[in-house]
Symmetry: C2
Subunit: 240 residues, 2 copies
């Protein structure tokens, strides 16, 4: 058995010294990897330098930084190996910086009445310095949408068991489950682990695992979530 | 002798899961602290969880995350202890996120023809969700200027020896030295260590230390920079 896991959070460059980062310790991904690795499953883990790392003889680490790196690495691995399951727990930036301009730049761009993102990108590209000057009261960063990495997975390997993650912040349980269900359907996932940032405190980690039959199972710690995901993947694989 | 050092890079929250971070490993700060600590100097180090940490019996660590945290901690320490020198090597965010809106929000704000940053802040504050939705093609983050932390230091302790840092990216040497000189004068620093990101590779680290008499000394590694700063501080203190 061979699985692919992603963990940690991507980081998107604003300029040579600044980046937008997604917080993620990588602890849940570590727990998941270790849960499989103790059963001698071969694990490819795509993660970041800052995330905590699992260790074991069957674990292969692959480092990435940006969403674009993740896409490239995922495609490379998924066209080289066949995976029984892909567990995509990485916090991926939905957006990446496209242009950074001053408020004054924004105001001149508005006056031109052309397509704003395009004009701002032209202004930013004309700037010759590589680090944005701090001689302005307001800085404006325009971000463009990143491709949705999770939607690539079933396109690359329709037979793999896909576990996606949905993290929201301080929402009612019903909303959390509805958003998770939507993500499951849109991305052809087999499971979505839905969790709320306000219910994560160290090892305590409240999560709901929903499947395509809309059955919901609950777990209360990172270890419980890891074991639940493994159990459900094994059970689903057993029925195939 | 007691000194205050800052190292690492600040991180400014965009929302509950995203932040703008300034890259800085903290390695140069570590080298500086260790250079003083080996001479039994008491060092207060303000740093971040992600930065590499020096160790030693005379080193006190103080953790911060944002520029606002740094300001608070600096004021607290500098009103409690008297420092022979303050070495401010931390990469501090010049800007902090004020509002995050969609491109559609920006367009409606522009139509109102009111003060743009204020209107965008109002729009952002009206939003009820704590994590920005990804259902938009472009996201716009407006950042406002942070207070300049370095300018506080001589106000709090006019007698301390202040070493500031100036990091630019891929600029000619003369420009680098001119910008450093400007910073030295504006912030009443005794020394500025000027360096260029393109000349930093692991332990190799090219830096120029300029003083109030506009004398420039050069160093080529982190250890050399640390030793140079210590030597110059000790020499200046000796003349007082």
């Amino acid at each position: 058995m061979r699985i692919l896991v992603t963990s940690g959070g991507t980081s998107e460059k604003i300029d040579d010294v600044r980046a937008i980062t997604n917080h993620s310790s990588g602890k849940l991904g570590k727990a998941i990897v270790e849960s499989f690795a103790k059963d001698q499953v071969i694990v490819d883990l795509i993660t970041t330098r800052l995330a905590v790392k699992p260790e074991g003889p069957t674990i292969n680490l692959h480092y990435i930084e940006t969403t674009a790196d993740l896409e490239k690495k995922l495609k490379e691995l998924m066209t080289t190996h066949s995976y029984d399951a892909v567990i995509h727990s990485m916090a991926v930036s939905d957006f990446t910086p496209e242009s950074s301009v001053t408020l004054e730049d924004l105001e001149s761009a508005i006056a031109l009445q052309t397509d704003l993102p395009t004009t701002l990108l032209e202004i930013a590209n004309k700037r010759t310095t590589k680090k944005i000057s701090s001689d302005t009261d307001h800085l404006v960063i325009v971000l463009k949408k990143n491709p949705k990495i999770i939607s690539l997975i079933k396109k690359l390997q329709p037979q793999t068991i896909l576990v996606g993650f949905k993290l929201l912040v301080d929402v009612p349980m019903i909303e959390l489950l509805n958003v998770a269900k939507e993500s499951l359907e849109k991305n052809h996932a087999d499971f979505i682990l839905a969790n709320d940032l306000t219910e994560i405190h160290g090892e305590k980690h409240h999560g709901y695992l929903i499947n395509q039959q809309q059955k919901v199972k609950e777990a209360h710690t990172k270890t419980e979530i890891a074991e639940l995901i493994k159990k459900e993947i094994m059970a689903l694989e057993g029925t195939r």
